[in-house]
Symmetry: D3
Subunit: 262 residues, 6 copies
């Protein structure tokens, strides 16, 4: 099954789920129609979702929608990222029971999709519009991701409030990020100064990673930790400043979401 098929199949699932919700909760009928049912494609639903939330009294949602459409149509990357994020949220968050939930309700998920568009704008030298997306995403969802940051696929940002991801950060595929996490720079130099987070990493709530450090594959950053140095593959680190408390290279913390330190 190729990606277009996957996206179509996922989109049908979302529409079926939403169709059933309309019957169960007519109070939200307009919401379901606007968000899902009146769209003929997944890309149209995603474009409207972001355009509506990020529009403002001086930037019409219609203008944003057209930019988002351009971004989505430019390559398959954005929508495939969106799809894998959706699957990740459904799979990793035990309170998420339907594929449609992140689309309808999760500001972490919505922030990621806004970033995917901002990132495309940045790569096409439209820095100011990219900053507009960043700025509105920070105001509306409380998630502040610099458009130059490089994020992979299948990422979950849970709850989202207070998350900050700096300009030269790299977040690889399949990373789980909780509320209050900072991937910050240090110093005033403008060069490469933010964390590189490898696949499978879990960044627990309110943890802070600062500087151009590497968080190795399958590492776990415990809640409330402050990380200022490289973290080894598979390591669990905790504390302020964070110290390694164990190492297990084969476990994937981003999947298990076990926040315990040992």
């Amino acid at each position: 099954m190729d990606n277009n098929e996957s996206i179509d199949s996922l989109w049908r699932t979302i529409q079926d789920e939403t169709e059933r919700r309309v019957k169960a909760e007519p109070v939200l009928a307009s919401f379901f129609h606007t968000t899902v049912l009146e769209h003929t494609s997944f890309s149209s639903a995603v474009a409207d979702l972001i355009a509506n939330d990020l529009g403002s009294s001086s930037v019409q949602p219609m203008m944003l929608r057209s930019v988002i459409k351009d971004a989505i149509n430019s390559s398959d990357e954005i929508l495939e990222g969106t799809m894998t994020d959706l699957l990740a949220a459904k799979e990793k968050d035990p309170s998420c029971k339907y594929l449609s939930e992140p689309l309808l309700f999760f500001k972490g998920f919505k922030s990621l999709q806004s970033h995917r568009v901002a990132s495309w704008l940045w790569d096409n030298s439209r820095h100011t519009l990219a900053h507009y997306f960043q700025s509105r995403t920070s105001e509306v969802y409380g998630v502040d991701i610099h458009p130059a940051a490089k994020l992979g696929r299948g990422i979950m940002i849970d709850h989202g409030t207070g998350v900050v991801i700096g300009e030269t950060s790299v977040v690889e595929n399949n990373v789980s990020i909780f509320q209050g996490v900072t991937l910050g720079g240090t110093g005033k130099e403008t060069g490469d100064r933010h964390p590189k987070v490898r696949e499978g990493v879990l960044l627990s709530a309110s943890s802070t990673v600062l500087g151009n450090v590497e968080i190795g594959r399958n590492a776990k950053i415990a809640a409330g930790s402050v990380v200022l140095e490289n973290v080894r593959e598979g390591a669990t680190v905790a504390g302020v400043p964070a110290k390694e408390v164990r190492q297990d290279v084969s476990n994937v913390p981003a999947d298990n979401i076990d926040h315990l330190i040992e």
Copy 2:
């Protein structure tokens, strides 16, 4: 004096205070009228407050108001919870000088009342609408409380930004919660996996409690702490991970709001 009398008397106080404010600050006259003065009952004011803030371009405030009214009218529980939260905010927050302030200005207080409605919806198997309330409360106030979480009365959420309270959490009466607090789960299992917080507990700013642990009566969780184990009644815990630094069963930290560790 029974509860209805209390609510009536509290409502009269709020109206009197607001009446005086109109005279002092005509710029806000419309705001005071919309929020307080044009309502004939406390329940009407509360319903409008939440409905207006949580409405969106595809869910009309009027639809929400009617749901909130149903919730409030279903039993005395919601409004009594609202009343005790109001009294708690006034009593515990030294910068809060009037009963009307939380209603007019505090997003922590408003989040709690939105949750009380969401919780009623959840208990009546209207999960999707409950999620809508949760989701909008997270976007508008920065406070993310799962509708299945069980919260008592007389709770204060101060400032509120970044607070997250997970699905199987229990927060008993008279608990004080500050900005950036997480009551989170651990692991991916869907069972009972969030903290149980007993009466009189103080959860200081940016503290994180993870897993199905019990925070004993009158315990104090110091600012920035990360708690992964049970905390004894009356204990003060601090650090990452948190360790007990003292115990005083008779003191009620939620009332004193003394954030100091010793």
Copy 3:
């Protein structure tokens, strides 16, 4: 060059930058015009910016604009504060490349300007309207500053989400504050109970300072730290609770923004 000249020159720079952006990004033309180009003075642009963001369905932006104008016209203090904050953001944030960026995009910067107006209202005994500004700033930008708090000039609040600054706090000139920082009180007494932060201090992400303690000149509070005691001039403190890890009186952490602990 006196201050009026400085402000005029800074305003011309902002207009020139924005003029060029219109050409490069017509999608945002309305946004640039509303925010910058249709204004004949810096004070008019600042007044509209805040009025538009903090207005609501029951408080018209026009009413707020007129209050903000009164505040700005009452003395040069507010606008000079705004100007130095703008210069600070541009100088200290390596991802900020233009003077116009904070005005257009930074919620930390906008929160500070809203506070400058709220503070003027508070000093003129218009406490309720000051609380309205505080409350809306908390809802819209996620930054909660009590209007009675005393803030100096050239302050940078970076990212902003989750910042809380209490009633009797003092923040002197040239202080840098990151997301998730709390300057909180302790205890329920209503007297002087919040931190005094001296010039040149750096408050890193998610750090918490509680009580009427003094953070000495040029001190650095490391990310995630919890400070409950005075911090010496030039000291770097870290941990929960925070301990001094070094001292360097001559360095200015607020300028260097080096979040590293040693």
Copy 4:
């Protein structure tokens, strides 16, 4: 079949029609839900319809809705009037094919329902609020009916733009009124000074009736006529000033809608 049954049956027809439209035209799904489908009763749909259209930046639709509900609940008169107007529009307007059309699309019909509420307010000595309804109805629909005017049931106002009905006018049951019709006063005295229009009358487009004159049962006022004197039962009058051109007491012009003069 009593009136409550009629209203219930009519309401079911409207819902069925609208249900089918949702399937045929998903672009309007939110519109159909907001207007019809999410309501559990005809009265709720009518109340929201008017409240939404007549609300403004300083009068919340929710406040209006509650007033309209009071009016509708006070007696069966308003809703029965609404029902007969709906049936009249469907029966008399050959381009109206469904019972739901006037509710969804006809500003003449909506103006009448707004007037029914304004009239109730006027009779309950709430003159100012009645004027608000009149004034907003004039701005939004272009139909200006003084709240003291007495209108019967089964009235059709077709197209509506420019219709003016003065303070002491009486319009009996089953009258058809086209765009641009004036029922005006003459002189400055404040007494009874507007037309009395009896049952079955047809007032064609752009006709003007001035003064306390009687338009007899089943009369027809031709398009563009100006009537300054009584018109006999069954008479057709035409011209400026209008002259009787024929008389036929048995015909009901309001039903036939034959605008021809002979």
Copy 5:
């Protein structure tokens, strides 16, 4: 008593009337505050009234307000015109019982004030902005007055819907104009081609005056008439095309508002 005193006294009356209405009708409290009570001067109330109604998604009311303020402050003419219009409406319309009613409720009155600003803009060579005022006034109130038309003082436009007044029209002081009246041009030449209406004239409902003709002092144009030639002072004309039916130089039809032809 000079004009400033008159305006102040009139403004106090409006405020007193409105103050009493707030008590009688709390549902409209926000409306009364926004429209009248929160303003410290008549000019501020008038400016906000028009700015709020004519703003749109791409022209902020705040920008319009500032233009209107400039117009009002440029000379006493506009506000004196406004005052005399208010007095005229109160005096001539028997259903108008309070000075505050036109300000709160009459779209004819509001159209005139919008025109007074548009006219000032036109005279200051700001033709495009003048057209914006004309265009929005036509959309919002249904009254279309070219900004170059010259209107005097003490004019009443009653009901207003459908009124059109062309580019080179002159309407002198104390003229009464009803719904559906056209003062139109004829031919395609761009020169002086619209009616000149002298003092004291009554233009009854749906009457049409075309071409550069003079409607003499105290003339009366009967309802539905079409006037294509000069009308003598004091003459009453009626019909299509209009013919003189009587003459009475001493009567002032604009004051008596007697629409009868003889």
Copy 6:
């Protein structure tokens, strides 16, 4: 020069004119950008114009825009109609000096373009959505055109308020229609019952044409006339009911706009 070239050239003229207006009137900069400058094609500008004006709280402009785009893209007919209407307005209305004026300011012109889309919807059996366009056009512009009516090109609707055009009307190319004109049906039968208006006809202000009558080529219907019978080619008719007053087959009243009767 083919039509695509014409449209491109016309679009460039509109953009040039608007570009100059921005400089002259910065207050309207956002308006000019939203309406003209931020669009890359004439069709995009037209689509947004209508979508923004006809959207409502339950039908998002973005949904309408996408429908309008489909209509415009389906054939060249709509846009060519729009172009010829624009040229007609500029040529026939002596107070219209720029090609951009109708697009920016004329509700008659905007109503026609909304009808062109509604007509396409009707022809594609989307009757309900077509009625939505009709209904909103009537509310927002005061012009009520049934979507089944057949309108040609190069039509001018001047001022527009009160215009009504019924279901089986035909209006051929190059017809000029003024405010208050009705093309109405007669009788209740649902068949062909509205006027057929041939090329070059002038329908003056407040004239009414009723029934399936033919208004011959180059005829003139004088202001305030009521027409119930066929009108010969080149005839001028006037009065209630209208009588022929002259005939001149070679003159084109729609171009000359000479409203005089002889």
